[in-house]
Symmetry: C2
Protein backbone atom coordinates (compact mmCIF):
# COMPACT_ATOMS: atom_id res chain seq x y z
CA UNK A 1 0.00 0.00 0.00
CA UNK A 2 1.65 3.30 -1.04
CA UNK A 3 2.24 6.00 1.56
CA UNK A 4 -0.58 8.49 1.75
CA UNK A 5 0.24 12.19 1.37
CA UNK A 6 -1.77 12.71 4.56
CA UNK A 7 0.87 12.72 7.30
CA UNK A 8 -1.55 11.69 10.06
CA UNK A 9 -2.54 8.69 7.98
CA UNK A 10 1.12 7.79 7.38
CA UNK A 11 1.69 8.03 11.11
CA UNK A 12 -1.16 5.62 11.81
CA UNK A 13 0.14 3.17 9.25
CA UNK A 14 3.63 3.27 10.70
CA UNK A 15 2.17 2.33 14.07
CA UNK A 16 0.33 -0.57 12.48
CA UNK A 17 3.41 -1.76 10.58
CA UNK A 18 5.46 -1.80 13.76
CA UNK A 19 2.91 -3.78 15.67
CA UNK A 20 1.99 -6.40 13.14
CA UNK A 21 3.28 -8.01 9.98
CA UNK A 22 -0.23 -8.09 8.50
CA UNK A 23 -1.94 -4.95 7.28
CA UNK A 24 -4.42 -3.70 9.86
CA UNK A 25 -7.16 -1.25 8.87
CA UNK A 26 -5.78 2.19 9.80
CA UNK A 27 -8.76 3.19 11.88
CA UNK A 28 -8.16 0.40 14.44
CA UNK A 29 -4.67 1.66 15.30
CA UNK A 30 -4.15 4.53 17.70
CA UNK A 31 -0.95 5.61 19.40
CA UNK A 32 -0.87 6.96 22.94
CA UNK A 33 0.00 10.37 21.48
CA UNK A 34 -3.09 10.23 19.28
CA UNK A 35 -5.35 9.33 22.21
CA UNK A 36 -3.88 12.25 24.18
CA UNK A 37 -4.40 14.49 21.14
CA UNK A 38 -8.08 13.57 21.15
CA UNK A 39 -8.29 14.28 24.89
CA UNK A 40 -6.82 17.75 24.26
CA UNK A 41 -9.35 18.34 21.46
CA UNK A 42 -12.30 17.24 23.58
CA UNK A 43 -11.56 18.55 27.06
CA UNK A 44 -13.10 21.91 26.15
CA UNK A 45 -10.42 24.23 27.59
CA UNK A 46 -7.06 25.38 26.19
CA UNK A 47 -4.16 23.07 27.11
CA UNK A 48 -1.97 24.69 29.76
CA UNK A 49 1.72 25.46 29.44
CA UNK A 50 2.33 24.72 33.12
CA UNK A 51 0.73 21.41 34.03
CA UNK A 52 1.45 17.99 35.52
CA UNK A 53 -0.67 16.48 32.73
CA UNK A 54 1.89 14.60 30.63
CA UNK A 55 3.18 11.13 29.82
CA UNK A 56 4.93 9.91 32.98
CA UNK A 57 6.12 6.56 31.63
CA UNK A 58 6.26 4.93 28.20
CA UNK A 59 6.66 5.94 24.57
CA UNK A 60 4.03 8.25 23.02
CA UNK A 61 4.27 6.19 19.80
CA UNK A 62 3.07 3.07 21.62
CA UNK A 63 0.18 1.39 19.84
CA UNK A 64 -2.77 1.39 22.23
CA UNK A 65 -4.55 -1.95 22.60
CA UNK A 66 -6.78 -0.82 25.46
CA UNK A 67 -7.23 2.14 27.82
CA UNK A 68 -7.68 2.02 31.58
CA UNK A 69 -8.66 5.04 33.65
CA UNK A 70 -7.85 5.10 37.34
CA UNK A 71 -7.71 7.42 40.33
CA UNK A 72 -4.12 6.46 41.15
CA UNK A 73 -1.73 4.31 39.11
CA UNK A 74 -0.55 2.21 42.01
CA UNK A 75 1.46 -0.90 41.09
CA UNK A 76 -1.62 -2.99 41.87
CA UNK A 77 -3.68 -0.93 39.40
CA UNK A 78 -0.90 -1.12 36.78
CA UNK A 79 -0.78 -4.91 37.14
CA UNK A 80 -4.56 -5.29 36.93
CA UNK A 81 -4.71 -3.01 33.88
CA UNK A 82 -1.99 -5.10 32.16
CA UNK A 83 -3.85 -8.32 32.99
CA UNK A 84 -6.99 -6.82 31.44
CA UNK A 85 -5.12 -6.01 28.20
CA UNK A 86 -4.99 -2.24 28.75
CA UNK A 87 -1.64 -0.61 27.95
CA UNK A 88 -2.56 3.08 28.20
CA UNK A 89 -3.29 4.05 31.79
CA UNK A 90 -4.93 7.42 32.34
CA UNK A 91 -4.34 8.28 35.99
CA UNK A 92 -5.60 11.24 38.00
CA UNK A 93 -2.89 10.96 40.65
CA UNK A 94 0.87 10.38 40.38
CA UNK A 95 2.59 7.20 39.28
CA UNK A 96 5.86 7.96 41.07
CA UNK A 97 4.93 9.36 44.49
CA UNK A 98 4.91 13.12 43.92
CA UNK A 99 2.58 15.57 42.17
CA UNK A 100 5.11 16.37 39.40
CA UNK A 101 6.26 12.70 39.24
CA UNK A 102 9.91 13.72 39.58
CA UNK A 103 12.11 10.63 39.87
CA UNK A 104 15.52 12.24 40.47
CA UNK A 105 15.69 11.00 44.05
CA UNK A 106 14.23 7.58 43.23
CA UNK A 107 16.83 6.26 40.76
CA UNK A 108 18.20 3.52 43.00
CA UNK A 109 14.98 2.70 44.78
CA UNK A 110 13.94 -0.94 44.27
CA UNK A 111 10.18 -0.25 44.35
CA UNK A 112 10.48 2.53 41.77
CA UNK A 113 12.61 0.28 39.55
CA UNK A 114 10.17 -2.62 39.89
CA UNK A 115 7.25 -0.46 38.76
CA UNK A 116 9.18 1.27 35.96
CA UNK A 117 10.43 -2.09 34.66
CA UNK A 118 6.95 -3.66 34.83
CA UNK A 119 5.57 -0.77 32.77
CA UNK A 120 8.38 -1.13 30.19
CA UNK A 121 8.13 -4.90 29.94
CA UNK A 122 4.40 -4.63 29.33
CA UNK A 123 4.75 -1.84 26.76
CA UNK A 124 2.59 0.45 28.87
CA UNK A 125 2.11 4.20 28.89
CA UNK A 126 0.99 6.22 31.94
CA UNK A 127 -0.66 9.57 31.25
CA UNK A 128 -1.21 11.90 34.21
CA UNK A 129 -4.62 13.56 33.73
CA UNK A 130 -5.19 15.83 36.68
CA UNK A 131 -5.26 19.57 36.01
CA UNK A 132 -7.40 19.60 32.88
CA UNK A 133 -9.93 17.07 34.16
CA UNK A 134 -10.51 19.41 37.12
CA UNK A 135 -10.42 22.56 34.96
CA UNK A 136 -13.02 21.18 32.52
CA UNK A 137 -16.46 22.74 33.02
CA UNK A 138 -18.07 21.09 34.81
CA UNK A 139 -15.08 19.59 36.68
CA UNK A 140 -14.91 15.92 35.63
CA UNK A 141 -14.22 14.75 39.17
CA UNK A 142 -17.20 16.69 40.52
CA UNK A 143 -19.50 15.14 37.91
CA UNK A 144 -18.43 11.62 38.85
CA UNK A 145 -18.67 12.24 42.59
CA UNK A 146 -22.20 13.68 42.41
CA UNK A 147 -23.29 10.64 40.39
CA UNK A 148 -21.74 8.09 42.75
CA UNK A 149 -23.20 9.81 45.80
CA UNK A 150 -26.63 10.10 44.18
CA UNK A 151 -26.40 13.86 44.74
CA UNK A 152 -27.11 15.05 41.20
CA UNK A 153 -30.41 16.60 42.26
CA UNK A 154 -28.81 18.14 45.35
CA UNK A 155 -26.13 19.98 43.39
CA UNK A 156 -26.31 23.71 42.78
CA UNK A 157 -27.02 24.65 39.15
CA UNK A 158 -24.01 26.98 38.99
CA UNK A 159 -21.55 25.14 41.24
CA UNK A 160 -21.23 21.33 41.04
CA UNK A 161 -19.32 21.29 44.37
CA UNK A 162 -22.19 22.85 46.34
CA UNK A 163 -25.07 20.71 47.65
CA UNK A 164 -28.34 21.27 49.53
CA UNK A 165 -30.11 18.63 51.63
CA UNK A 166 -33.06 18.23 53.93
CA UNK A 167 -31.55 18.80 57.41
CA UNK A 168 -29.61 15.63 58.29
CA UNK A 169 -27.69 15.10 61.55
CA UNK A 170 -23.94 15.09 60.84
CA UNK A 171 -23.44 11.53 62.14
CA UNK A 172 -26.07 10.17 59.73
CA UNK A 173 -24.84 12.38 56.89
CA UNK A 174 -21.33 10.95 57.40
CA UNK A 175 -22.61 7.38 57.55
CA UNK A 176 -24.47 7.82 54.26
CA UNK A 177 -21.33 9.04 52.51
CA UNK A 178 -19.30 6.23 54.06
CA UNK A 179 -21.81 3.64 52.84
CA UNK A 180 -22.22 5.04 49.32
CA UNK A 181 -18.48 5.33 48.70
CA UNK A 182 -17.66 2.17 50.70
CA UNK A 183 -15.07 3.99 52.82
CA UNK A 184 -13.18 2.18 55.59
CA UNK A 185 -11.29 5.05 57.23
CA UNK A 186 -13.32 8.23 56.97
CA UNK A 187 -12.81 10.88 59.67
CA UNK A 188 -15.13 13.63 60.87
CA UNK A 189 -14.75 16.84 62.93
CA UNK A 190 -17.91 18.35 64.45
CA UNK A 191 -20.98 17.82 66.61
CA UNK A 192 -22.64 14.54 65.53
CA UNK A 193 -26.05 16.17 66.02
CA UNK A 194 -25.31 19.19 63.79
CA UNK A 195 -28.02 19.50 61.12
CA UNK A 196 -26.36 19.51 57.70
CA UNK A 197 -28.35 21.45 55.10
CA UNK A 198 -25.65 22.89 52.88
CA UNK A 199 -22.30 21.25 52.13
CA UNK A 200 -19.46 22.17 49.84
CA UNK A 201 -16.91 19.69 48.55
CA UNK A 202 -13.26 20.11 47.68
CA UNK A 203 -12.57 16.64 46.29
CA UNK A 204 -8.98 15.44 46.72
CA UNK A 205 -6.44 17.45 48.66
CA UNK A 206 -7.21 20.91 50.02
CA UNK A 207 -4.72 23.34 51.59
CA UNK A 208 -5.61 25.88 54.29
CA UNK A 209 -6.38 28.25 51.43
CA UNK A 210 -8.97 27.85 49.94
CA UNK A 211 -10.04 25.45 52.72
CA UNK A 212 -10.44 28.13 55.40
CA UNK A 213 -12.63 30.52 53.39
CA UNK A 214 -14.72 27.57 52.12
CA UNK A 215 -15.49 26.37 55.65
CA UNK A 216 -16.07 29.98 56.78
CA UNK A 217 -18.75 30.63 54.15
CA UNK A 218 -21.83 31.59 56.16
CA UNK A 219 -24.13 29.49 53.96
CA UNK A 220 -22.11 26.27 54.56
CA UNK A 221 -22.64 23.74 57.37
CA UNK A 222 -20.10 21.16 56.23
CA UNK A 223 -16.94 21.05 54.13
CA UNK A 224 -16.18 17.67 52.54
CA UNK A 225 -12.57 16.99 51.50
CA UNK A 226 -10.36 14.06 50.56
CA UNK A 227 -7.21 14.96 52.43
CA UNK A 228 -6.00 18.01 54.38
CA UNK A 229 -3.35 18.79 56.98
CA UNK A 230 -4.08 18.35 60.65
CA UNK A 231 -2.07 21.43 61.73
CA UNK A 232 -3.78 23.69 59.17
CA UNK A 233 -7.40 23.28 58.10
CA UNK A 234 -8.24 20.65 60.75
CA UNK A 235 -7.05 22.91 63.57
CA UNK A 236 -9.03 25.76 62.00
CA UNK A 237 -12.21 23.64 61.87
CA UNK A 238 -11.79 22.71 65.54
CA UNK A 239 -11.32 26.38 66.47
CA UNK A 240 -14.26 27.55 64.42
CA UNK A 241 -16.46 25.06 66.28
CA UNK A 242 -14.94 25.97 69.67
CA UNK A 243 -15.70 29.63 68.94
CA UNK A 244 -19.40 28.73 68.76
CA UNK A 245 -19.98 28.32 65.03
CA UNK A 246 -22.03 25.32 63.85
CA UNK A 247 -19.69 23.64 61.38
CA UNK A 248 -18.33 20.26 60.31
CA UNK A 249 -15.36 18.97 58.35
CA UNK A 250 -15.52 15.52 56.70
CA UNK A 251 -12.20 13.97 55.60
CA UNK A 252 -13.01 11.06 53.31
CA UNK A 253 -9.55 9.94 52.18
CA UNK A 254 -7.93 11.11 48.97
CA UNK A 255 -8.51 8.09 46.72
CA UNK A 256 -12.14 7.54 47.72
CA UNK A 257 -12.91 11.26 47.37
CA UNK A 258 -12.05 11.42 43.66
CA UNK A 259 -12.21 7.87 42.36
CA UNK A 260 -15.72 8.06 40.82
CA UNK A 261 -14.49 11.03 38.79
CA UNK A 262 -12.17 8.68 36.92
CA UNK A 263 -14.96 6.13 36.49
CA UNK A 264 -16.83 8.92 34.72
CA UNK A 265 -13.67 9.70 32.73
CA UNK A 266 -13.81 6.21 31.15
CA UNK A 267 -17.37 6.94 29.97
CA UNK A 268 -16.34 10.33 28.63
CA UNK A 269 -13.43 8.84 26.65
CA UNK A 270 -15.74 6.29 25.03
CA UNK A 271 -17.58 9.21 23.39
CA UNK A 272 -14.65 10.05 21.13
CA UNK A 273 -12.38 6.98 21.22
CA UNK A 274 -14.37 4.13 19.66
CA UNK A 275 -11.34 2.18 18.36
CA UNK A 276 -10.12 0.49 21.55
CA UNK A 277 -11.69 -0.97 24.69
CA UNK A 278 -11.82 1.43 27.64
CA UNK A 279 -12.24 0.32 31.24
CA UNK A 280 -12.19 1.95 34.68
CA UNK A 281 -9.77 0.17 37.06
CA UNK A 282 -10.48 1.24 40.65
CA UNK A 283 -7.62 1.89 43.06
CA UNK A 284 -8.02 0.29 46.47
CA UNK A 285 -8.54 2.48 49.52
CA UNK A 286 -5.06 2.14 50.98
CA UNK A 287 -5.94 1.91 54.67
CA UNK A 288 -7.69 -0.31 57.17
CA UNK A 289 -8.55 0.30 60.83
CA UNK A 290 -6.84 -1.64 63.63
CA UNK A 291 -10.21 -2.97 64.80
CA UNK A 292 -11.10 -4.14 61.29
CA UNK A 293 -8.02 -5.38 59.44
CA UNK A 294 -8.18 -6.18 55.72
CA UNK A 295 -5.85 -8.73 54.16
CA UNK B 1 12.09 49.65 97.31
CA UNK B 2 14.90 51.43 95.41
CA UNK B 3 15.83 50.24 91.97
CA UNK B 4 18.60 47.67 92.00
CA UNK B 5 21.69 48.32 89.90
CA UNK B 6 21.21 44.79 88.51
CA UNK B 7 19.25 45.31 85.29
CA UNK B 8 17.74 41.83 85.35
CA UNK B 9 16.45 42.47 88.83
CA UNK B 10 14.98 45.84 87.75
CA UNK B 11 13.27 44.06 84.90
CA UNK B 12 11.69 41.51 87.24
CA UNK B 13 10.48 44.22 89.56
CA UNK B 14 8.90 46.16 86.70
CA UNK B 15 6.94 43.03 85.76
CA UNK B 16 5.78 42.69 89.36
CA UNK B 17 4.80 46.34 89.60
CA UNK B 18 2.70 46.13 86.48
CA UNK B 19 0.87 43.07 87.65
CA UNK B 20 0.16 43.93 91.23
CA UNK B 21 -0.07 46.91 93.56
CA UNK B 22 1.56 44.98 96.39
CA UNK B 23 5.26 44.16 96.40
CA UNK B 24 5.89 40.57 95.34
CA UNK B 25 9.22 38.86 96.12
CA UNK B 26 11.33 39.18 92.96
CA UNK B 27 12.06 35.48 92.63
CA UNK B 28 8.37 34.62 92.14
CA UNK B 29 8.07 36.87 89.08
CA UNK B 30 9.10 35.62 85.64
CA UNK B 31 8.28 37.15 82.30
CA UNK B 32 7.53 35.06 79.22
CA UNK B 33 10.85 36.28 77.77
CA UNK B 34 12.68 35.02 80.84
CA UNK B 35 11.02 31.60 80.66
CA UNK B 36 12.00 31.37 76.97
CA UNK B 37 15.53 32.47 77.89
CA UNK B 38 15.74 29.54 80.32
CA UNK B 39 14.46 27.17 77.65
CA UNK B 40 17.22 28.39 75.30
CA UNK B 41 19.80 27.88 78.05
CA UNK B 42 18.60 24.36 78.86
CA UNK B 43 17.68 22.85 75.49
CA UNK B 44 21.27 21.77 74.94
CA UNK B 45 21.72 22.92 71.34
CA UNK B 46 22.50 26.34 69.84
CA UNK B 47 19.39 28.40 69.08
CA UNK B 48 18.74 28.51 65.33
CA UNK B 49 18.56 31.62 63.19
CA UNK B 50 15.90 30.09 60.94
CA UNK B 51 13.15 28.59 63.07
CA UNK B 52 9.41 28.66 63.71
CA UNK B 53 10.17 28.68 67.45
CA UNK B 54 9.06 32.14 68.52
CA UNK B 55 6.32 34.01 70.37
CA UNK B 56 3.24 33.76 68.14
CA UNK B 57 0.89 35.81 70.30
CA UNK B 58 1.28 38.03 73.34
CA UNK B 59 3.88 40.34 74.88
CA UNK B 60 7.26 38.86 75.90
CA UNK B 61 7.17 41.10 79.00
CA UNK B 62 3.99 39.41 80.25
CA UNK B 63 4.29 38.23 83.86
CA UNK B 64 3.85 34.47 83.82
CA UNK B 65 1.41 33.12 86.41
CA UNK B 66 1.44 29.55 85.09
CA UNK B 67 2.77 27.55 82.15
CA UNK B 68 0.84 25.03 80.04
CA UNK B 69 2.50 22.75 77.52
CA UNK B 70 0.44 21.30 74.70
CA UNK B 71 0.74 19.48 71.39
CA UNK B 72 -1.41 22.03 69.57
CA UNK B 73 -2.73 25.36 70.85
CA UNK B 74 -6.27 24.87 69.60
CA UNK B 75 -8.84 27.33 70.91
CA UNK B 76 -10.14 24.58 73.21
CA UNK B 77 -6.64 24.11 74.68
CA UNK B 78 -6.19 27.89 75.01
CA UNK B 79 -9.49 28.17 76.90
CA UNK B 80 -8.70 25.24 79.20
CA UNK B 81 -5.22 26.64 79.91
CA UNK B 82 -6.74 30.03 80.80
CA UNK B 83 -9.31 28.38 83.06
CA UNK B 84 -6.46 26.56 84.82
CA UNK B 85 -4.63 29.85 85.45
CA UNK B 86 -1.88 29.27 82.89
CA UNK B 87 -1.02 32.29 80.75
CA UNK B 88 2.12 31.03 78.96
CA UNK B 89 1.24 28.30 76.48
CA UNK B 90 4.14 26.31 75.05
CA UNK B 91 2.81 24.62 71.94
CA UNK B 92 4.50 22.15 69.61
CA UNK B 93 2.19 22.88 66.68
CA UNK B 94 0.86 26.15 65.25
CA UNK B 95 -1.60 28.50 66.89
CA UNK B 96 -2.78 30.06 63.62
CA UNK B 97 -3.16 27.20 61.11
CA UNK B 98 0.22 27.14 59.36
CA UNK B 99 3.73 26.01 60.27
CA UNK B 100 5.14 29.57 60.25
CA UNK B 101 1.92 30.96 61.87
CA UNK B 102 1.61 33.65 59.19
CA UNK B 103 -1.63 35.57 59.63
CA UNK B 104 -1.53 37.84 56.55
CA UNK B 105 -4.43 36.06 54.89
CA UNK B 106 -6.42 35.67 58.12
CA UNK B 107 -6.90 39.34 59.10
CA UNK B 108 -10.64 39.45 58.53
CA UNK B 109 -11.39 35.87 59.54
CA UNK B 110 -13.81 35.68 62.49
CA UNK B 111 -12.29 32.50 63.98
CA UNK B 112 -8.79 33.96 63.88
CA UNK B 113 -10.04 37.19 65.48
CA UNK B 114 -11.93 35.27 68.18
CA UNK B 115 -8.81 33.33 69.17
CA UNK B 116 -6.47 36.34 68.97
CA UNK B 117 -8.86 38.42 71.08
CA UNK B 118 -9.32 35.66 73.66
CA UNK B 119 -5.53 35.43 74.03
CA UNK B 120 -5.24 39.24 74.43
CA UNK B 121 -8.11 39.52 76.88
CA UNK B 122 -6.59 36.81 79.03
CA UNK B 123 -3.09 38.31 78.92
CA UNK B 124 -1.74 35.11 77.37
CA UNK B 125 1.45 34.33 75.46
CA UNK B 126 1.80 31.47 72.95
CA UNK B 127 5.32 30.20 72.33
CA UNK B 128 5.84 27.81 69.39
CA UNK B 129 8.34 25.17 70.50
CA UNK B 130 8.82 22.79 67.62
CA UNK B 131 12.23 22.75 65.96
CA UNK B 132 14.43 22.79 69.04
CA UNK B 133 12.37 20.24 70.97
CA UNK B 134 12.91 17.86 68.05
CA UNK B 135 16.57 18.86 67.58
CA UNK B 136 17.38 18.27 71.27
CA UNK B 137 19.31 15.03 71.84
CA UNK B 138 17.47 12.84 72.45
CA UNK B 139 14.48 14.36 70.58
CA UNK B 140 12.01 15.46 73.28
CA UNK B 141 9.03 14.12 71.32
CA UNK B 142 10.70 10.71 70.89
CA UNK B 143 11.39 10.48 74.61
CA UNK B 144 7.75 11.17 75.48
CA UNK B 145 6.40 8.77 72.84
CA UNK B 146 8.60 5.87 73.97
CA UNK B 147 7.45 6.44 77.57
CA UNK B 148 3.75 6.61 76.73
CA UNK B 149 3.95 3.49 74.54
CA UNK B 150 5.93 1.59 77.19
CA UNK B 151 8.65 1.08 74.58
CA UNK B 152 11.62 2.43 76.52
CA UNK B 153 13.21 -1.02 76.65
CA UNK B 154 12.45 -1.64 72.97
CA UNK B 155 14.26 1.49 71.77
CA UNK B 156 17.67 1.31 70.14
CA UNK B 157 20.48 2.71 72.29
CA UNK B 158 21.67 5.02 69.49
CA UNK B 159 18.36 5.91 67.83
CA UNK B 160 15.29 6.68 69.97
CA UNK B 161 13.03 6.33 66.90
CA UNK B 162 14.04 2.72 66.22
CA UNK B 163 12.38 -0.16 68.09
CA UNK B 164 12.72 -3.96 68.28
CA UNK B 165 9.95 -6.34 69.36
CA UNK B 166 9.21 -10.02 69.64
CA UNK B 167 7.50 -10.84 66.30
CA UNK B 168 3.94 -9.44 66.56
CA UNK B 169 1.31 -9.68 63.79
CA UNK B 170 0.69 -6.22 62.31
CA UNK B 171 -3.02 -6.21 63.27
CA UNK B 172 -2.19 -6.83 66.93
CA UNK B 173 0.75 -4.43 66.84
CA UNK B 174 -1.59 -1.72 65.53
CA UNK B 175 -4.26 -2.50 68.12
CA UNK B 176 -1.72 -2.19 70.94
CA UNK B 177 -0.62 1.26 69.73
CA UNK B 178 -4.26 2.30 69.30
CA UNK B 179 -5.06 1.21 72.86
CA UNK B 180 -2.01 2.75 74.52
CA UNK B 181 -2.43 6.12 72.82
CA UNK B 182 -6.27 5.96 72.93
CA UNK B 183 -6.56 6.70 69.19
CA UNK B 184 -9.96 6.81 67.50
CA UNK B 185 -8.97 7.12 63.83
CA UNK B 186 -5.70 5.30 63.23
CA UNK B 187 -5.07 3.92 59.71
CA UNK B 188 -2.84 1.07 58.57
CA UNK B 189 -1.39 -0.11 55.24
CA UNK B 190 -0.13 -3.70 55.03
CA UNK B 191 -0.86 -7.37 55.55
CA UNK B 192 -2.53 -7.78 58.97
CA UNK B 193 -0.55 -11.02 59.48
CA UNK B 194 2.87 -9.43 58.79
CA UNK B 195 5.21 -10.15 61.72
CA UNK B 196 6.55 -6.84 63.04
CA UNK B 197 9.99 -7.18 64.62
CA UNK B 198 11.59 -3.83 63.83
CA UNK B 199 9.77 -0.53 63.51
CA UNK B 200 10.96 3.00 62.97
CA UNK B 201 8.93 6.07 63.90
CA UNK B 202 8.75 9.50 62.33
CA UNK B 203 6.45 11.20 64.83
CA UNK B 204 4.31 13.99 63.39
CA UNK B 205 4.28 14.77 59.69
CA UNK B 206 6.60 13.01 57.25
CA UNK B 207 7.11 13.90 53.58
CA UNK B 208 8.05 11.39 50.87
CA UNK B 209 11.64 12.16 51.72
CA UNK B 210 12.74 10.95 54.25
CA UNK B 211 9.65 8.71 54.39
CA UNK B 212 10.56 6.58 51.36
CA UNK B 213 14.12 5.72 52.41
CA UNK B 214 12.94 5.04 55.99
CA UNK B 215 10.34 2.52 54.82
CA UNK B 216 12.84 1.05 52.33
CA UNK B 217 15.44 0.30 55.03
CA UNK B 218 15.98 -3.45 54.79
CA UNK B 219 16.00 -3.88 58.58
CA UNK B 220 12.56 -2.26 58.99
CA UNK B 221 9.18 -4.05 58.92
CA UNK B 222 7.02 -1.06 59.80
CA UNK B 223 7.17 2.71 59.58
CA UNK B 224 5.03 4.58 62.12
CA UNK B 225 4.06 8.18 61.33
CA UNK B 226 1.58 10.79 62.46
CA UNK B 227 0.52 12.22 59.12
CA UNK B 228 1.67 11.79 55.51
CA UNK B 229 0.26 12.40 52.04
CA UNK B 230 -1.79 9.73 50.31
CA UNK B 231 -0.36 10.47 46.85
CA UNK B 232 3.25 10.31 48.05
CA UNK B 233 4.41 8.00 50.85
CA UNK B 234 1.13 6.07 51.09
CA UNK B 235 1.20 5.20 47.38
CA UNK B 236 4.84 4.20 47.77
CA UNK B 237 4.03 1.90 50.71
CA UNK B 238 1.26 0.23 48.69
CA UNK B 239 3.64 -0.27 45.76
CA UNK B 240 6.43 -1.62 47.90
CA UNK B 241 4.02 -4.22 49.29
CA UNK B 242 2.60 -5.01 45.81
CA UNK B 243 6.17 -5.57 44.59
CA UNK B 244 6.51 -8.39 47.13
CA UNK B 245 8.24 -6.68 50.05
CA UNK B 246 6.95 -7.40 53.56
CA UNK B 247 6.25 -3.92 54.90
CA UNK B 248 3.70 -1.86 56.80
CA UNK B 249 2.87 1.81 57.27
CA UNK B 250 0.95 2.95 60.34
CA UNK B 251 -0.61 6.43 60.25
CA UNK B 252 -1.59 7.37 63.79
CA UNK B 253 -2.82 10.94 63.35
CA UNK B 254 -0.64 13.98 63.90
CA UNK B 255 -1.79 15.09 67.35
CA UNK B 256 -1.80 11.62 68.90
CA UNK B 257 1.60 10.83 67.40
CA UNK B 258 3.43 13.64 69.24
CA UNK B 259 1.25 14.60 72.17
CA UNK B 260 3.13 12.60 74.85
CA UNK B 261 6.27 14.47 73.82
CA UNK B 262 4.71 17.67 75.15
CA UNK B 263 3.58 15.89 78.32
CA UNK B 264 7.27 15.11 78.83
CA UNK B 265 8.10 18.76 78.02
CA UNK B 266 6.11 19.86 81.08
CA UNK B 267 8.25 17.59 83.27
CA UNK B 268 11.43 18.86 81.65
CA UNK B 269 10.47 22.50 82.26
CA UNK B 270 9.84 21.80 85.95
CA UNK B 271 13.52 20.95 86.27
CA UNK B 272 14.61 24.56 85.72
CA UNK B 273 11.48 26.67 86.26
CA UNK B 274 10.48 26.21 89.89
CA UNK B 275 8.77 29.62 90.28
CA UNK B 276 5.43 28.95 88.57
CA UNK B 277 3.02 26.01 88.22
CA UNK B 278 3.50 23.98 85.03
CA UNK B 279 0.84 21.68 83.59
CA UNK B 280 0.38 19.61 80.43
CA UNK B 281 -2.93 20.38 78.68
CA UNK B 282 -3.71 17.64 76.15
CA UNK B 283 -5.18 18.55 72.75
CA UNK B 284 -8.15 16.42 71.72
CA UNK B 285 -7.80 14.03 68.79
CA UNK B 286 -9.75 16.08 66.25
CA UNK B 287 -11.62 13.27 64.49
CA UNK B 288 -14.26 10.63 65.08
CA UNK B 289 -15.42 7.78 62.84
CA UNK B 290 -18.90 7.77 61.27
CA UNK B 291 -19.68 4.46 63.04
CA UNK B 292 -18.61 5.86 66.39
CA UNK B 293 -19.47 9.56 66.69
CA UNK B 294 -18.16 11.63 69.61
CA UNK B 295 -20.05 14.68 70.84
Amino acid sequence: MPASPDSRRRFLLRGAALASTTIVPAQTVLTAAQVIGRIKQNVGIPWREQTVDRIIAGDPETKVIGIATTMMATLDVVQRAAAAGKNLLITHEPTFYSHPDTVDQLGNDATYQFKRDFLRRNNMVCFHFHDHWHARRPDGIAVGMARELGWENNADAENPHLFSFPATPLARFAQEIEARLKIRTMRVVGDPALPVRRAIASWGNVSQFPGIPLLARPDIDALIVGETREWELVEYAQDMIASGRKKALLVLGHVVSEQPGMKYCAEWLKGFIPEVPIEFVPAAEPFWRPGSPVA
